[in-house]
Amino acid sequence: MSTPASMTWQKNPALAWREIDDETVIISPNDSVMHELNDTGSFLWKNIDGKKSAAELAELLAENYEVTPDVALSDTQALLEEMSSRKLVVTVPATGGVSP
């Protein structure tokens, strides 16, 4: 089951990462695994700030790339879920703080 589109996301603070020429490289220090995000993945990564929900991120994606709002939401949620499974992002509970 996917996380609600209203859920707010933030980057895992333990990560090392760098945007290099519109692509983002992320290192998870615990397992030394490197992840690379392409242009659109990097765009979303930059905007994951602990304040925006998946729906808001999708809206930004649709505004900046030639995708329909439905596709943007579906792609955004898919990426967030995938990154969440890899512990690159975490949801922010309504009360604030980071949920595991």
Partner: protein
């Protein structure tokens, strides 16, 4: 990883930076290439400014080293800044000053890996190299502490005359600790060019038992046990184990990564292509990192070098066995583009071990040809003298 290496090499992004915070050290290793006096280290504020410049320029992999980094009283302040700027942080240390509290702080500041120099599993050998009695015991005591705090540890063992046959003990030690290791045959001159450390370098002939050891060929240490995996999102994202990337095909016709996507910064702010290539491209007290990295003539010249165009080495039939280093070519042979004796001799031995019949490097071939020509000329001259005197 290959894609990242290719992109950063092509666009000259400084992906990896080795930043020595101090040359001061609490050991006095016999083979060390550094002057341990403090000649005016970058201040904390200057270090933080360097880190900001590096982050803006695209550096991800940052190695802090020395000297002994724990001798920098502002180490944690610098690490905290590196953490805020999202670097992947590694340290090199002799670990003499590691305590549980310090290990916890390294972890807190996001340090991923600590590389520790271990010269032998025998205290008398290790301590004779570091010139600090009890240093092996203290160094080894630090390793479980670091591991318990979630830091990765890697052993580095430079091999020289004093510890040449100690590598098996270090390998066994690494295996017992469950950590990777690296054996290094490189002993370099001092950074000012003086040759003191080379007195400790093992001769090529004495290295032969090491080069022939089947254990070294059967057991290649890996930097990480993490499994590579793939993910398919928007539309291409993937995970892979982080490695040095030095084996990447992106460097195919380049001597190495130096100046292409990596560089070295001294405690005094000098920017070099590599710690083994001591030609300063600029100083961060006077110039911005970006201005040095993208415009220094020294770096532009280095970037133009292609192995296939080297005057001697491009003709060499055993190039694939050679680990020529442009820095050592400069320091030992006086020419960054040239061949140098030690690399050629080692390449010949490695080629022999691989089954190549009578391998000879282009440098030695040229020297032999010159010798033959000189002998023939001398004989002709002698004959001419004889006939004129007749």
């Amino acid at each position: 990883m290959d894609g990242l290496i290719s992109r950063t090499v092509q666009k000259h992004r400084p992906l990896s930076v080795h930043f020595d915070l101090t040359y001061r050290c609490n050991e006095r290793c016999v083979h060390c290439y550094l002057d341990h006096d403090d000649h005016g280290e970058l201040t904390t504020a200057e270090c933080l400014k360097v880190l900001e410049d590096l982050a803006r320029s695209g550096t991800l992999f940052l190695t802090f080293s020395g000297g002994e980094i724990f001798l920098r009283p502002d180490l944690y302040e610098i690490l905290a800044a590196a953490r805020r700027l999202h670097f992947d942080i590694s340290l090199k240390s002799n670990a003499l000053l590691v305590t549980a509290e310090r290990a916890a702080r390294l972890r807190e500041f996001g340090v991923r890996r600590v590389q520790i120099s271990v010269y032998s599993d025998v205290p008398a050998i290790h301590d004779a190299i570091t010139k600090v009695p009890g240093s092996l015991e203290r160094t080894l005591a630090a390793i479980p502490i670091l591991l318990e705090h979630g830091l990765q540890v890697k052993l580095a063992c430079p091999l020289m005359q004093e510890n040449l046959m100690a590598y098996r003990g270090v390998m066994a030690l690494a295996e017992k600790l469950g950590v990777p290791y690296i054996l290094d045959l490189t002993i370099t001159p001092m950074m000012d060019g003086s040759s003191g450390p080379l007195e400790h370098r093992a001769s090529v002939s004495s290295l032969l038992p090491v080069l022939r050891d089947p254990v070294l060929h059967a057991c290649k240490p890996q930097p990480s046990s993490a499994a590579a995996s793939t993910m398919d999102a928007l539309p291409s994202t993937f995970g892979s184990a982080v490695s040095s990337g030095i084996e990447s095909a992106a460097y195919e016709d380049l001597p190495c990564s130096a100046g292409h996507n990596s560089c070295y910064i001294s405690p005094y702010g000098d920017v070099f292509p590599c710690v083994q290539l001591p030609q300063a491209a600029g100083n961060l007290r006077r110039e911005k990192f970006e201005d040095i990295w993208y415009h220094a003539p020294q770096l532009e010249r280095l970037r133009a070098i292609r192995e296939s165009q080297l005057p001697i080495c491009s003709q060499c039939e055993i190039r694939s066995y050679c680990e020529r280093c442009p820095g050592l070519a400069l320091m030992e042979g006086g020419d960054m583009l040239g061949a140098y004796e030690r690399a050629c001799a080692l390449a010949e031995e490695k080629a022999k071990l691989a089954g190549v019949s009578a391998p000879i490097s282009a440098l030695h071939l040229k020297q032999n040809t010159a010798l033959v020509l000189a002998t023939v000329e001398a004989e002709f001259a002698s004959l001419a003298t004889d006939s004129s005197s007749d």
